[in-house]
Structures are given as structure tokens and as C-alpha cells.
Subunit: 351 residues, 2 copies
């Protein structure tokens, strides 16, 4: 999506009418230098690059259609990390849509950082993908601007924070999922329900915790801050955050884990403490990864349609790359409750 | 890796000395037509394409160094399917090495076919990757020849069949892994040991079954063909192949599954039949996917170093793309036994 030129811009240039030669003249550099900047080549002095990019942004340079068609047939999928089966669900959804459109998928990983480093952007610009799909990671405003200046649209799948209003995004109804998970436990008769959340700064995680709180409060139950713990979304974190909650005299009879992997960590903590699932402890997860049905007992969880989210994000990115306006720029796909065998009424209670 | 010209070739051309103009003259076509064929463009008549490719193959056309450097910074990772956590381990190993070398990874999937279709090759040739890594899938001789004619080396990771001698490959010591798995069960005291194998035509699967047979025979135990079943490597197959073996009067007390996912299917079949693992049935898998440690009880398995295999394959591909000769062209990385809690002596037997 090209940056739109402000109609009231000082020199009154209509958007899409400026040429590379105009940009070169205004910046006082050669045409090849402007091309180098647009192609992400490294052999341009930083201050020259910045001057050229500022001019491109100001005028909203519009590539000609034949230039657009000379783009590679690549869609760039950028991950925060490739560590879990979660990532595979995203890859599968995106790959299917890319293949259906004759496109190939490039994977990159910001190696555990929630914002990718500088080398990543240079690589992307050199590859000239049709679009970038950023998965569970945040691009900086500057990174977004550089991609926009080159007509490379960005779509965020499962945003960490609140993407700026110009950035299209696909998420899931996380708050609603948290509400549904907790209500399921309340309906079984639980009143001491622990919450093992993901990282506090991550929006989807906060939404799940808020849904948990809302379910308790609307059921007239007290929210006990001691029962809410934050970690990351992995197995070890689930174990580590949950184990201390088993020590007290008034231990929880049920737990809502912010991810299936955290729920597996809770399984481990329960096994280590000699507790049976679900007889002594009910556990519900979030995601519905394939592993949820294979563990013993199979895990009750909130299904997040990860493949559909990635597929919708990829379709949205392709639409934008074609210069078309999508029907919706922000979508949240519905989550749903999948009841398996890890949840039951608390002991001593008939239902 | 360029196809080496035969020193005794009819016209005695030395390898690497022929130009695009020579190829065009010999084929009776224009220079741009030869370029189109080399760049995988679709707008060339099939018989023209074949004639040009045959000439390139015969002469072993060697791209100039500057042409080589104009390649994209992509490594192509081609999967038979992206369905399981197995694929993710391969992706992670390859991505790390690609990133360390400033390269990006392109993923493609042959959508469940063990040999990719025609559209795949056209896409690859248009993308001009530095190298292709074919994972658990076979390229046809023609596909290999077309890639070689364009100086795109191919490395096979975890070959399905026996790759031709020119194709470098990275595998695991599957036979040895099968032997080790079965010996572990024999040492615990089991004598009725079932084998749930992968697809019969797949070489790594056959090697595991042969290792199983060798362990039984060298221990003086009889191989009962009724206890050997073949399926695919997924959960449902493990369940389906194993369940009938529980019906007879002389049921097995242990089972070696050809993959961890098949082992999880065996868990399901055991649960459905009311058998406890490992008290009533010992189960050992193959792969050591992350899920193996999360299931209840944690799965004893044979570790296959999937990330290391993918990393070694990617390094090998990069070496070949640089025109360097690798130290080894065929490597098998060692498997190892990981004992967890799904195997134990058979009931009624003291050890």
C-alpha cells in the first residue's frame, strides 16, 4: 500500500506522478542512487538513504504497473520464534494460500526478539516480496515506513501490541475465549480457579486474563490476585508458574492456562505433586494445537483457528499487494470451546 | 553443482567453455530463447526447451562468476508435507544455518505427493535459489537434471528412496536405531514385540524394521510376521495398525513404533483397550519430537537429530552453491536411545 500523499502537500504534487528522476533531483543525488535506496542495497550512505526515503514518503511515489509486476513471487512470513507447533499451524495456513496463488513463502525469524533487527529489513527489501506478514511480533514505525515507501504491504497476524491504525491485522477473539474457558470451569462447580497467563505486555494474553476476570466477576466470584501468574507461552513456564500454587492450604481446584503448552507444564506440575487430572485438578488450555488431543488425558481447550488466521492474513496481504482495497482491514476470528477429558466437577461436588 | 561434461564428448568441448551464443547456435534458436530456458520462463515451446536443455546438459554450461553472484539469497526447502512437528524441527535447523549465512528460507510443499509436480519446478527456476533441499521426498531424474543444468545444487535430507549417486544426502542411522529400540525391549525381558512400521516403500522405514528383525534374530527370538504392520508415520495410522494386534490370545507385551506420532496412536489404542502403559504394554517410539516428553507417561524413544540433519544439509547445500567441494557428500547422523517412562519389564517378570 503506497503512502498516500497529503493533498495539501507544500508543492501540490499529485500522488503517483513523481518519477525517480524527480526524486533524484530533489535529493541532489543520481538516479542510480535512488534505485539503490528503493532496492535496499547497502552501498548508500545512511544520511543519503534517509533523505531519499523522506522524499519518497512525502510524495507517495507510486511504482508503475510494470514495475509492480516485476516483483518476486514471494510472500514473507516473519516470526518472533519458530519454536513450537503453534508456528507450524501458522505456516500451514499461509503456505496453502500462497501455493493457491502461485506464490512461495519465505520464512524469517527475529530470533526470540519481539521486534526484528536491522539486518532483517535489509534482507526483505533486497528480496522484494509482494507482502510481509508479521506473526506475533511488532515492527517499529520506521520499519513499517520503509516497507510502505517501497509499496510492500504489511499484515500483522496475532498482534502482540495494538498495531497502528494503518496496519491491517488478523487476530482471534481472545477476551471471549478467556471468558468461555473460565465459565466452563465455573459451570462445573469450581470456585478456586487459577490463571496462568502469557507475557503481561502481550495484548492477546492480557485479553485472555481479562476474560477470566470478567467470567469470575459476572458469576459473583472473587478474583484472588494470588491465583493469577504470568510467564511465557511455553511448557516450562506453565510448570514453573503453577507449581507454587499447590503449596498453600487453599489450593485451586482448576486452572486456566493461557496456552496449550503452558497447560502441559501444569500437567507436569500436577503429576509431580501426585494429583490426578481431572479428579484432583481440572485444566483447560488455549490454542487447540494437535498435541492437545494426544496427551493423557486429552486436554479441554479453547480452539484458536490458527490456520484460518494465517490463511486470512495471507489473502489480505495478497489483496493489498494487488493494489485492491480489502473488504475488512481488521478481523478477529472466533474462538470456541473444545471439551475433552481434563476438566470435571471438583471432588465432593455432585452436578 | 554443474553437470560435468564427459571428457570424451563428441565435439571435445572442455567443460565450462561454452557460451550462451554457442548453445543458441547449436540449438538453432536465438540467445534470448536460451536465456528464457535457463530462467525457467514459460513462454518457450516444450520441444525447443528440451533441445536447449539437452545441449546444456551435454556441454555442462558453466555460469560465469558474476552470473552466479546475481542469484537470489534464497535457499529452497521442499517438503513432502508440512503436517507434523517433525517438519518444524527440520525448518528450525535449516533456518538457523540460512540466517547465519545471510540467506532466507523459501518453503514449498508437494502437497502430500512424494514427488513434487511440474508447477513446483517452474517456480523454483524462476526464483533462482542458491540451492534446493529436498526433505523426505524424491525428485525425478528429469527434475534433478533441470536444476543441475541451471547450476542449482540439490541436497536430500532424510531420503525416501536411495538417491542417485550424484545427489548428496543427509540421513540418520535408521537401521541402528531400530536395532537399539528393539534391544532395549528385549533387555527388559520382552519376547512378544510388535513392530508398527512406516510406509514399506520408504527406505528409512524399512531400515528401522530391518534393525528390529536383526535385534530379535541376534537374541535368538523368533520373528513373527503377524506382529509386523505397515502404515504411514501419523497418529491415526499407529492406532489403526496396532489395535487389531490386541485381539488375539497371545498379544504382544511391547511395541516398537516407527515414529513418535505412531507411538501416540498406540497409546490411544492401549487406553481404549484398558491397558496401562508401561505396566501392561511397553511402547517405544522413534524421532524424539518435543511432544514425546509431554505425553503421559513420557515416551521412551530413539532420538533422531532432525535439527542437526537439516542444519548439516543446509551447510552442505551452501558449500555446493559456492562451487566448493564438500568434505563428505553422504552423511548419516547417529540416533540414540532416550529412556523415559513408557517402557518397563513385562508383568510377572522380575529383572
Amino acid at each position: 500500500m503506497p503512502t498516500k500523499a497529503d493533498p495539501s502537500s507544500p508543492d501540490g504534487t499529485a500522488p503517483g506522478k513523481i518519477t525517480i528522476a524527480d526524486i533524484a533531483a530533489e535529493a541532489g543525488v543520481s538516479v542510480p542512487t535512488v534505485s539503490k535506496v528503493m532496492n535496499g542495497r547497502a552501498d548508500v550512505a545512511p544520511h543519503t538513504r534517509e533523505r531519499v526515503e523522506a522524499i519518497i514518503r512525502r510524495h507517495g511515489y507510486q511504482r508503475r504497473a510494470d514495475e509492480r509486476s516485476r516483483r518476486s513471487n514471494l510472500v514473507e512470513l516473519m516470526f518472533h520464534e519458530l519454536e513450537s507447533a503453534w508456528a507450524l499451524e501458522i505456516i500451514r495456513g499461509a503456505e496453502q494460500v500462497a501455493a493457491d496463488n502461485g506464490l512461495a513463502l519465505v520464512l524469517s525469524e527475529s530470533q526470540g526478539r519481539l521486534t526484528p533487527g536491522h539486518g532483517w529489513l535489509e534482507g526483505v527489501i533486497a528480496r522484494k516480496p509482494l507482502a510481509v506478514i508479521s506473526v506475533f511480533s511488532d515492527l517499529t514505525g520506521q520499519q513499517l515506513a520503509k516497507l510502505r515507501a517501497r509499496d510492500i504491504p504489511v499484515v500483522v497476524v496475532d498482534p502482540i501490541g495494538e498495531p497502528d491504525l494503518d496496519t491491517p491485522s488478523i487476530g482471534a477473539t481472545n477476551w471471549n475465549g478467556g471468558l468461555t474457558a473460565t465459565r466452563h470451569l465455573i459451570e462445573l462447580g469450581h470456585t478456586r480457579i487459577a490463571m496462568i497467563g502469557g507475557p503481561e505486555r502481550v495484548l492477546c494474553s492480557r485479553a485472555r486474563v481479562d476474560g477470566y476476570r470478567a467470567a469470575l466477576e459476572t458469576a459473583g466470584l472473587q478474583v484472588d490476585p494470588d491465583l493469577i501468574r504470568y510467564g511465557d507461552f511455553h511448557v516450562a513456564s506453565g510448570h514453573r508458574q503453577f507449581a507454587p500454587l499447590l503449596d498453600g492450604p487453599n489450593r485451586p481446584t482448576a486452572v486456566f492456562a493461557g496456552s496449550d503448552l503452558q497447560a502441559l507444564g501444569v500437567y507436569e506440575a500436577a503429576r509431580a505433586a501426585g494429583l490426578r487430572v481431572p479428579e484432583d485438578l481440572s485444566i483447560i488450555g488455549f490454542d487447540d494445537l494437535p498435541v492437545a488431543q494426544w496427551v493423557g488425558p486429552p486436554l479441554t481447550t479453547i480452539r484458536q483457528p490458527l490456520q484460518d488466521m494465517a490463511a486470512a492474513g495471507t489473502r489480505l496481504a495478497i489483496t493489498l499487494a494487488r493494489g485492491e482495497e480489502p473488504e475488512h482491514r481488521r478481523i478477529e476470528l472466533a474462538t470456541s470451546l473444545v471439551v475433552r477429558q481434563s476438566t470435571a466437577p471438583p471432588r465432593g461436588r455432585a452436578v
